[in-house]
Symmetry: C2
Subunit: 224 residues, 2 copies
DNA sequence: GCAAAAGTGTTCAATGTACACCCATGC
DNA sequence: GCATGGGTGTACATTGAACACTTTTGC
């Protein structure tokens, strides 16, 4: 009686115009030397969400990011050490934010970003976890506002569009994208702008949480 | 080290034109005498889905119904006996199918159907589980084909419509409903019909799994 | 004045929604 | 012939998709 419970977090971010996942190289058996989704064991008296946030902090040094429970994997043979349940989560890091130094984690030798669509061979059943997370993210991006978790506090509309394109894996029309995202009514234009290259500066926008709440109350956005 | 894992299943069905959930009355402490979502503990070497199907069979006597993992609840204080994780599922029973005799389960004194929108006070955090399940079912009904899990193998379009109305909690237009559901292309009209009262017989339809698969491959239906 | 990214509207197709009448059957 | 539920089509509004040019800035 009693199984061990791991909490594994698929950490997504957009880098170099592509959707990436943060993976750690295992430093101890089983699957020593293989890449894996970062995670760790649930502690006594710790809530699942707390454990996920703790692991996320240890692994990346960030707090206050979007985090959502994904699925619980529990096939009897999934961990050679014995019965281990994995409660999986996915987290979104804003593009451009720094991930923690690789040595920050405990039993992870190193950490690196990998293309989320073409990951290396993974330990345990983590390939299934990553697949599932990718699928869920992609779907939610089109139908909810999770996408705003992938951009920093202030961003240009073009930056936002690039993020969407990276996750969806296809280009989108600039005019349609801007109209649609502005029509949502959850963006606020700031008075500032930013110049990327040697060209016309772009207006900076920010996400308006209060307007978002209004929408959610009216059932416009899907809650799960 | 090691927590106990419960598998709890919210069992939905439409009875008397309303969405109902099957609940069991607890015969032992804690929460003795309170109603609860049926479930039980995960056994060694048992997959999560297997455990859910086993509980479902014990509780209702049915197999081969729609079953989907919902969410994992794990707040430290949710069970006074100690640390217990609940991996929750929801299942759909076709309208009109018989549920098992109340005494079939183990530590459940009795079982009964309750209005899913207005349940009695529930044990543990089961009210949250039921809320979550209801929300998910309702949402999926509009955007996927889960709805077909709530009708028997052969059904009239009016029966199907009544089921949708019960879950959504509002009436829908007959003509629009029929057009939409037929346009999906996953229904096959049989040659038979059935007479309910003293009136014109209604054509019986059945669900075509092969056509459904074609849609799913093309990404028309949402997979989760 | 030119290179480079920002910004902006209209047309068309598809989809969803509102709405009312005739049909088949048993008594 | 009448009561009861079965069955059908059209007009309109909303939504999503395709598509190209002008503007601002630094050099």
């Amino acid at each position: 009686m009693g199984v061990r419970v791991a909490v594994d977090i698929v950490i997504f971010s957009v880098r170099d115009g592509r959707l990436k996942a943060l993976l750690v190289k295992r430093g101890v058996p089983p699957f020593e030397g293989r890449w894996a989704v970062p995670g760790g064991f649930l502690k006594d008296d710790e809530a699942l969400d707390e454990a996920a946030r703790r692991e996320l902090l240890e692994e990346t040094g960030v707090a206050d990011v979007y985090l959502e429970q994904l699925f619980t994997f529990g096939a009897p043979g999934r961990d050679p050490r014995g019965r281990v349940l994995s409660v999986s989560y996915f987290a979104l890091l804003p593009a451009g934010s720094k991930a923690a130094p690789p040595s920050a984690g405990g039993d992870a030798a190193e950490a690196a970003w990998f293309d989320a669509y073409e990951p290396p061979p993974l330990a345990f059943d983590h390939a299934a976890i990553l697949d599932y997370a990718r699928q869920r993210l992609r779907w939610k991006l089109e139908w909810t506002t999770v996408g705003f978790g992938l951009v920093p506090g202030r961003f240009t509309l073009t930056e936002l569009q690039r993020v969407f394109e990276a996750v969806l894996g296809r280009g989108v029309d600039k005019r349609n994208f801007r109209r649609k995202v502005l029509a949502l009514g959850v963006l606020r234009a700031t008075k500032e702008s930013r110049r990327e290259g040697l060209t016309r500066p772009a207006r900076l926008f920010e996400f308006s949480a209060s307007r978002f709440e209004k929408l959610r109350e009216r059932g416009v956005l899907f809650p799960f």
